[in-house]
């Protein structure tokens, strides 16, 4: 198997020795906005990424996340605002003058150079002698378990191996910030999942700042210390994975990260942060998110796994079971109530094997999040 060699565990001793010379730096976007001609790619954005953090930017394609990455790496000058790396203003500095290294989506390995030459290229650019830079390249190839492949051409390697070469090449220049532009998207599912843990462990050991761009929420949530969710050139929310999932700040984040049951309705009462909403299935109470007024149209979001069977919670809905889809450890129940579809995820077990056709769904006040309707318009 070609790729099994690729997922050999990464050696730890070398990386510690090597990583000791690397220091992560913080990255700050100060009112950065980017326009191409008439179209705005990135709205004015403030963002602070901490030194040594694994930070992901998650969003659908075209949301501006790659533009932000290319701005940090220096390929794009922001139209307004400035980028600071380690407190230093990067205005006017080209990509070859910044303490960043970028791993491209297609990896961009140099096809005419050997693997070792690829890894040594950044050192060549720094005027380091041939013998010395090839020795360093060999160390880095050991680090990514490719020390036998230095003389090969990138085209002779498997996808996972090429991935590692790209990582080694980027680490060779000892960057303070490593930028990754969806580098796993070309790999098959199994390898992708393996590379997630591997990337995370490399980051932990070298200790530099990783900024990871992806449209795959699984990747972002699994690897990152913090995640920024982007939509239409705007940062929707910056938070750690748990907060993002449990307390999405906007309906876009709520629906983009994980699954949601969405109800439309009108707010009838509002007290502190508890809102009552008149919906097709009756009055629902939940926690108010964002600026709401009585009489406003609103969206109520409930995660499938927060709904339980039986009438034990603040909100109860009688429903009819339409279908039952086995997912393995859990079961998805598709239910209908007053023309409204619900997905309910419950743990698999004997209790859910023989369910009646008519059942009650219920969810607590804390499980229903109420958002203003207008906020979804830019989702």
């Amino acid at each position: 198997m070609a790729w099994t060699a690729g997922i050999r565990p990464v050696g730890t001793t070398n990386i510690v020795a090597y990583g000791s010379s690397m220091r992560g730096k913080d990255v700050r976007l100060d009112k950065v906005s980017i326009r191409f001609g008439d179209s705005t790619a990135v709205q004015p954005t403030d963002l602070a990424i901490h030194a040594g953090e694994f930070f992901s930017i998650l969003g659908p394609s075209g949301c501006g996340k790659t533009t932000i990455l290319r701005t940090i790496s220096g390929f794009i000058e922001p139209t307004d605002g400035r980028v600071l790396i380690g407190g230093e203003d990067m205005v006017g500095k080209g990509p070859n003058e910044r303490p960043t290294a970028l791993i491209f989506q297609n990896l961009a390995l140099f096809p005419l150079m050997s693997v070792a030459e690829n890894v040594a290229f950044g050192l060549e650019a720094r005027g380091i002698g041939k013998a010395q830079r090839l020795k360093r390249a060999q160390e880095l190839l050991e680090l990514v378990a490719l020390d036998q492949y230095g003389d090969k051409k990138p085209a002779d390697l498997s996808g996972g191996q090429r991935q590692r070469v790209a990582i080694a090449r980027a680490l060779a220049v000892e960057p303070s910030v490593l930028l990754l532009d969806e580098p796993l998207s070309a790999l098959d599912l199994k390898l992708r999942q393996h590379m997630r843990t591997e990337l995370r462990s490399i980051q932990k050991r070298v200790g530099i700042t990783f900024i990871y761009i992806t449209h795959d929420q699984g990747e972002a949530l699994a690897m990152s210390d913090r995640v920024a969710v982007m939509s239409r050139g705007r940062l929707e929310q910056v938070a750690d994975a748990d907060t993002l999932y449990a307390e999405p700040a906007t309906p876009f984040v709520a629906t983009f990260v994980g699954e949601q049951n969405v109800l439309r309705g009108r707010i009838t009462t509002l007290a502190d942060d508890v809102a009552s909403v008149e919906t097709p299935i009756g009055l629902v109470t939940g926690r108010a998110k964002g600026a709401l007024k009585v009489g406003d149209e609103a969206l109520v979001m409930v995660r499938p796994e927060r709904i339980s069977l039986g009438a034990s919670n603040a909100n109860t809905v009688p429903a009819r079971l339409v279908s039952r889809n086995l997912e393995g450890p859990s079961v998805n129940l598709l239910c209908a109530a007053a023309g409204q579809n619900f997905t309910v995820t419950v743990p698999n077990g004997p209790a859910v094997r023989d369910l009646p056709e008519e059942l009650n769904l219920s969810f607590g006040l804390a499980d229903a999040l109420v958002y203003p309707m207008g906020a979804l318009a830019h989702g």
Partner: protein
């Protein structure tokens, strides 16, 4: 020799037509080659006076033709020196220009390809006389380069369109200077095309007559020398030159077919 979509009758007619066409292409060359071995001193195949190689000897002793050959090679090398950097610069700049300014520049750079060769020769002749340079090998190099550089540029442009721009970006990102990126990434990528362009430039220059005849002044190349001799009558020595060209071309073509015709691994 024809497509599966035509009826058998149409296919037959097309095949006969193609056969005649190939005959039209090759028969004159065969006739020209055969006459080189006829000892009759007017190049002919109908008046056969016996097989001879004496015209080959005559060519080997023909100082003007040999000097013409040397001059042709010199001019062709000069054309390579001028037109490859020019074509390369044009292509590199065009790929980075916006649509509007790019189109204007493109039109100017391609226009020599669409200009009759004699015009290029004449305008170069007049231009260089202003600097006191009379017609000769130098002016011939300049006149030919004006359009051969365009061909080179088109070859480079086609190659650049297939270039992965992220390779240059990756190199820059790793800290390389623009010069290093150019030397290590861009040039190696373009090297095969530069070779092709040099071969094309050499062949174009070597066989050029319409432009050269105006720019060459008192000097001569192999081709202009042959042309001026044809005014005074035909000689089998010219056929010998023809035979040499035919043999070289057939050798090159056979090599090409053998290389290309090999079944490729999937």
């Amino acid at each position: 020799m024809s497509t599966a979509t035509d009826s058998p009758g149409a296919r037959l007619i097309l095949n006969i037509y193609i056969g005649l066409f190939v005959l039209y292409l090759f028969l004159p060359l065969a006739v020209m080659s055969a006459a080189a071995f006829n000892s009759f001193d007017y190049p002919s195949v109908t008046q056969w006076r016996g097989f001879t190689l004496k015209w080959f000897v005559a060519l080997a002793n023909d100082q003007r033709l040999l000097q013409g050959l040397v001059n042709s090679v010199l001019v062709a090398l000069g054309v390579i020196v001028v037109s490859i950097p020019a074509g390369l610069s044009g292509a590199l700049i065009l790929t980075r220009l916006g649509q509007r300014s790019g189109t204007v520049l493109y039109s100017v750079l391609v226009s020599p390809v669409l200009t009759p060769g004699i015009i290029l020769g004449i305008s170069s002749l007049i231009f260089w006389r202003e600097f006191g340079v009379p017609g000769g090998l130098f002016v011939a190099v300049m006149a030919q380069s004006s359009f051969i550089a365009s061909y080179a540029m088109l070859l480079f442009l086609a190659r650049l369109q297939r270039q992965d721009r992220t390779l240059e970006e990756a190199a820059l990102d790793l800290g390389a200077s623009h010069t290093l990126v150019f030397r290590r990434i861009t040039l190696p990528f373009l090297a095969p095309t530069a070779f092709t362009a040099a071969v094309v430039a050499f062949l174009q220059s070597f066989e050029n007559y319409n432009t050269t005849v105006f720019a060459i002044g008192g000097e001569w190349t192999l081709v202009t020398e042959i042309a001026s001799r044809l005014r005074f009558g035909l000689s089998p020595v010219i056929n010998v030159v023809g035979v040499i060209f035919v043999v070289l071309t057939l050798l090159a073509a056979t090599t090409y077919v053998l290389l290309k015709g090999k079944p490729k691994r999937a």
